[in-house]
């Protein structure tokens, strides 16, 4: 019985990542906010980029915040300075392929995003992550937490709990 459940789950995973060709022209939007602003991606259900499509960003009242076109890679960017009045509020992004396919993506902008001091183009965020030296403090803290846990468990063991 357990083997059957495992087999079922593995089959489910196989189906999960299978893309249906019938959905190849469905349009989708995905976006996230970082310290440089809002970065979005418009793509077809098959995973291909939806390049040079109109995309617009609105607030909850339908007021236009920004509009433009996706790049050939299907990406778009809204600088944080443009989003500043809308931080902490819900926004929506809409793109239309003009073939009867459109997509809308809703998100709530974080309220505590760090704003750039000027509206000039910022250097691209560092994607390499923290260096080895920066791990010293968190690892020491981790050691302290587990040390505390060890001490608590030792006391409980002595107490016979």
């Amino acid at each position: 019985m357990t083997a059957l459940i495992r087999l079922f789950i593995l089959l489910f995973l196989g189906v999960l990542f299978h893309t249906s060709p019938a959905e190849a022209h469905r349009l989708n939007i995905f976006a996230s906010v970082n310290e440089a602003g809002l970065d979005g991606q418009v793509y077809y259900a098959g995973g291909g980029p939806a390049g040079e499509l109109p995309v617009s960003v609105h607030d909850l009242d339908g007021q236009l915040i920004a509009e433009g076109q996706t790049t050939t890679e299907g990406t778009f960017h809204v600088p944080l300075a443009v989003l500043k009045p809308h931080l902490g509020k819900a926004i929506s992004m809409t793109s239309n392929s003009g073939e009867g396919h459109s997509a809308t993506f809703h998100m709530i902008l974080p309220a505590d995003a760090t704003l750039p001091e000027t509206t000039e183009a910022k250097e691209a965020p560092d994607k390499s992550g923290p260096g080895p030296k920066q791990f010293m403090q968190p690892l020491l803290m981790l050691l302290a937490i587990f040390g505390l846990l060890y001490w608590i468990k030792s006391i409980r063991r002595k107490q016979g709990l």
């Binding site: 995973l13 793509y43 259900a45 995973g47 923290p130 846990l149």
Partner: protein, 202 residues
């Protein structure tokens, strides 16, 4: 991939995930024996480092997750191990968010448990070099796949479409799945040779 920031998930998804994650942490702490703490700390530290260091890829970046290895070595103890690592990642590197801590924990520890449940019987049965390599590779691969699915499920339950989101999340980690499979297979082979007691073999 696995570090969803605050404000993305719906209140319902956040509350349910946090409740489930809290139950997992409570049960994991209950099952945590004093003598297991050095092992849990070591795995937690490895997760903290591995999932913080980003592998630069063309146009994007990705990181290891170690979900499969954590599930096979820790069992329920994976919940407190990942919780501590996520809290430290949030405090020191700003990864994830305080409100989304519960969903992030569930999205990593849950798949780790599920991966272990699926792969452990294979590992118990075939403790040959080929069996260990295959189990380790499968655990690494499945771990990333299931974490990606869990993240996509959280996002879809919060209003985004599941399939495209899952594909987008996994597309950026396709290469990492292979790397994670190799890392997990190597780690398992080493553990079985040097410290087999670190694994929960039957």
């Amino acid at each position: 991939m696995a570090h969803i920031v605050d404000g993305i998930l719906s209140t319902e998804v956040t509350m349910i995930s946090t409740t489930l994650a809290a139950c997992g942490v409570a049960y994991g702490l209950k099952k945590l024996d004093r003598d297991d703490i050095p092992k849990v700390a070591l795995i937690s530290a490895a997760f903290l480092v591995a999932s913080t260091l980003r592998i630069p890829l063309p146009g994007t970046s990705a990181h290891l997750l170690m979900a499969g290895l954590m599930g096979l070595t820790l069992g329920w103890q994976v919940f407190p191990a990942v919780l501590i690592a996520l809290v430290l990642q949030l405090a020191f590197f700003g990864f994830g968010g305080l409100i989304s801590l519960g969903p992030n924990l569930l999205n990593i520890a849950g798949p780790a448990m599920l991966t272990a449940w699926l792969v452990q019987p294979v590992l118990n049965r075939w403790q040959t070099p080929a069996g260990i390599a295959a189990s380790g590779f499968a655990a690494g691969l499945l771990g990333v796949g299931l974490v990606g699915s869990a993240v996509a499920l959280s996002l879809s339950l919060s209003g985004q479409e599941f399939w495209p989101t899952a594909q987008l999340v996994l597309a950026s980690h396709g290469l990492v799945m292979g790397v994670e499979g190799l890392v997990t297979a190597s780690a398992l082979a080493l553990m079985i040779k040097v410290r087999p007691d670190l694994l929960r073999l039957a």
